[in-house]
């Protein structure tokens, strides 16, 4: 799990992930932190999770594998995973 810890690099990704969480889960930005997860955001249920996945894919221009979909368990884990994926594809600016 060590590669999932937030790094200086994913700071650019993190605010975009937070913005998407605010839109998809319809919560105020002040309620979303890197540690936010389905346990802390009430509307983050399995169906909203799917909307979250779709919104992330559209924002960053990536596609998640089944394993990855199950790993997006907090805002910071999501940002870290995206950072990895963007490095792989070299597509650092999704839009």
């Amino acid at each position: 799990m060590s590669q999932m810890v937030p790094t200086a690099q994913n700071k650019r990704v993190l605010p975009r992930v937070v913005a998407i969480a605010v839109d998809v889960f319809q919560v105020p930005e002040s309620n979303v932190s890197p540690a936010s997860s389905p346990d802390t955001i009430e509307t983050w249920d399995s169906l909203h999770h799917l909307s979250f996945v779709v919104a992330l894919e559209q924002e960053f221009g990536v596609q998640f594998s089944p394993e990855e979909i199950e790993q997006l368990l907090s805002i910071e884990l999501t940002a870290a995973l995206l950072e990895e994926k963007l490095k792989e594809t070299g597509a650092s600016n999704g839009c």
């Binding site: 169906l47 799917l50 919104a55």
Partner: protein
């Protein structure tokens, strides 16, 4: 990215300043630029602040499905909300569409939907053909298809017995062929089997009113079969679509929701230079403008072809262009490559006036509200001018170059129609006749002379299956000369007409300039002594020609024959029906009750009579002006 942030900031400001109409328009722009899952969340929460401050058509949409559709719901809501449609959406239980339709106590029926979308995947209902085709005999394949078409036939029949809602059915998607290229060589191939099933589904839709087929396979093919799906989401969450397929599917649904809810444009107002043809006529002359079969004229001709398709669908076209009128008309009449000719247009404003003013005049000339107008212009300044002046006009968002115009028109859901009546196809010709009538009115010495010279024939007939669609359409579309503005679906009209004490009549008007088609509807119910008018409406086309007197006279006679002594009707005022306000007073009706601005008018049939105007030949037929119907279409 920063542009989208700016748009959101602007919307937030407009909302906090309570500038609702502008905020709504900007939400539409945002959605146009950013039709994605995240923006859908923002739009839905912004709309919650707008609700109640702007006019919106409410509807209740139920999704019946064999797969996960929940992430589509916020996208559907956003697409509808920006179009002025405020939907309540219910998603049925996963893969229990059959139980929901068959169980009269199900959540589907207690939700009381106005629109139901039935989305079932081939791989869920026909796994043997989706994957196991290679193992099956021809007879087994046919048996599988028969099983599904019989199941759907029964489901649709049951649904129709229990609900008036419109039903939109996804047809079945074709799989990738188990036999590879061999499939296309076989007489009973796997893909051909799905095509046969889809033909059956479409036939089932045609057997019922208000049931429509959505060609799902064509939709997938249009967007690219290889990109449409996402196996990762299918296998983990049972949602088969890729992220970028959600909006195209919702847009396809909207093509049905617009005509079902009546949120439509009746006229497309188009510019000429660099829109209908390339180049500026005033500078380059008739020979210099580009329209034809080669590049770049072909783009303009393709737009012209698309506009003719709209014209055939009953949508009126009008020209609004800054040009010299004579030159422009000459180009439309004489340019050898032009597909659109003057007769395709119902109105012209070719001058140097402000376009917003021209659009307003076109609406007035055609007797329509400005909300029935769509506006196509290559010039973003003109588009912005019309939009800021009249937010209710549907300004078509077009790309910078004309090669995208035809597609923008084809994808605009405001031009979709689900039925096509003979009147629709004749629309423009009728407006031309109307112009001749207006000239006659100017030249006639007195009003009575004018009425006489029109040589009018009014045919009143019981509604019959052939006229049902038109009668329902008139109740949905007529806003001005309509005393109660009650909207009915075909299904509801059919039910009302079947009641013994109700009468539902179509009114057809002919005159010396031609056949106006069915332009009026009467619905009345007799209860003992009293005949109550439920619906009395007349298309603007024939207002002011005493047709309404003939219609009321007919109702008075019929009521008397049915044993009634009182003919009465409510006038329910709306923003638009002021033209009909005086109708009852003008025919000796007396106000007998009022509540909340509504007035009940009554006529004592034993004391008063409404004679048929001497200049109108009135024909009352028992349902079948079938012969005329056939002649007109």
């Amino acid at each position: 990215m920063s542009q989208l942030k700016e748009m959101r900031a602007q919307i937030d400001t407009l909302l906090s300043q309570e500038r609702w109409v502008e905020a709504h328009a900007r939400l539409g722009d945002l959605w146009q630029h950013d039709g994605k899952a995240a923006a859908a969340g923002y739009i839905a929460s912004s709309y919650d602040r707008l609700r109640g401050h702007i006019a919106a058509v409410k509807c209740r949409i139920a999704l019946l499905r064999s797969m996960t559709l929940e992430p589509l719901v916020p996208i559907l809501r956003s697409a509808a909300l920006v179009a002025g449609i405020d939907p309540t959406v219910q998603v049925g239980q996963f893969n229990s569409y059959a139980q929901e339709i068959l169980d009269p106590q199900s959540a589907l029926y207690s939700f009381q939907p106005s629109i139901v979308i039935l989305a079932v995947q081939t791989r869920d209902i026909l796994p043997e053909i989706w994957e196991g085709y290679a193992d099956l005999s021809e007879a087994e394949i046919q048996a599988a298809i028969d099983r599904v078409s019989e199941q759907f036939r029964a489901l649709v029949r049951t649904f129709r017995e229990r609900s008036n809602a419109s039903l939109v059915i996804h047809t079945f998607e074709k799989p990738s062929a188990s036999h590879g290229v061999l499939d296309a060589q076989q007489s009973a191939g796997q893909l051909a089997a799905i095509e046969r099933l889809n033909e059956e589904i479409k036939a089932i839709c045609r057997e019922h009113r208000g049931v429509y087929a959505l060609d799902y396979d064509a939709l997938v093919a249009h967007h690219g079969r290889a990109r449409w799906h996402d196996e990762a989401k299918w296998l983990t969450m049972r949602m088969p679509f890729a992220a970028d397929s959600l909006l195209p599917l919702v847009s396809e649904w909207m093509k049905f929701i617009h005509p079902i809810t009546g949120v439509l444009c009746k006229v497309l107002v188009v510019d000429l230079d660099n829109t209908l043809w390339g180049g500026v006529l005033g500078e380059e002359g008739l020979e210099g403008i580009q329209v034809g079969s080669e590049y770049p004229g072909a783009f303009y001709r393709s737009l012209q072809r698309t506009l003719i398709d709209l014209h055939q669908r009953g949508i009126l076209l009008a020209v609004c262009s800054k040009n010299n009128r004579e030159e422009a008309m000459e180009a439309l009449e004489k340019h050898p490559e032009m597909l659109l000719r003057p007769e395709h247009f119902a109105a012209f404003r070719i001058n140097w006036q402000d376009k917003a003013q021209n659009v307003r005049e076109i609406a007035a000339e055609l007797n329509l509200g400005t909300d029935a107008i769509a506006f196509l212009d290559d010039n973003p300044v003109e588009r912005e001018r019309v939009r800021s002046e009249m937010p209710e006009v549907k300004v078509i968002s077009v790309p910078d170059h004309a090669r995208g115009f035809a597609r923008a028109i084809r994808e605009c859901p405001y031009f979709e129609r689900l039925t096509l009546s003979a009147e629709d196809k004749e629309h423009t010709r009728m407006y031309h006749q109307q112009a001749k009538r207006a000239e006659l009115a100017k030249s006639a010495a007195s009003l009575e002379d004018f009425y006489r010279s029109l040589d009018q024939e009014v045919q009143i007939a019981h509604v019959i299956p052939e006229t049902l669609a038109r009668v329902a359409q008139l109740t949905q579309k007529t806003n001005q000369y309509n005393v109660t503005t009650r909207r009915y679906t075909e299904q509801q009209i059919e039910e009302v007409a079947a009641q013994p004490n109700w009468g539902v009549y179509s009114v057809r008007v002919k005159d010396r300039f031609g056949d106006n088609g069915i332009v009026g509807v009467l619905i009345a119910r007799t209860e003992g002594e009293v005949c109550e008018i439920d619906t009395f409406l007349l298309s603007c086309r024939v207002i002011g020609r005493t047709v309404e007197t003939a219609m009321l006279g007919f109702l008075a006679d019929t009521s008397r024959k049915n044993g009634a002594s009182i003919l009465r009707g409510w006038f329910l005022p709306t923003k638009k029906n002021a033209p009909a306000r005086e109708i009852y007073a003008a025919h000796q009706f007396k106000p007998v009750a009022t509540e909340d601005g509504r007035t009940l008018w009554a006529l004592n049939l034993e004391e008063a009579d409404i004679p048929n105007p001497e200049w109108i030949r009135l024909h009352v037929t028992n349902g079948s002006h079938r012969a005329e119907q056939a002649r007109a279409s």
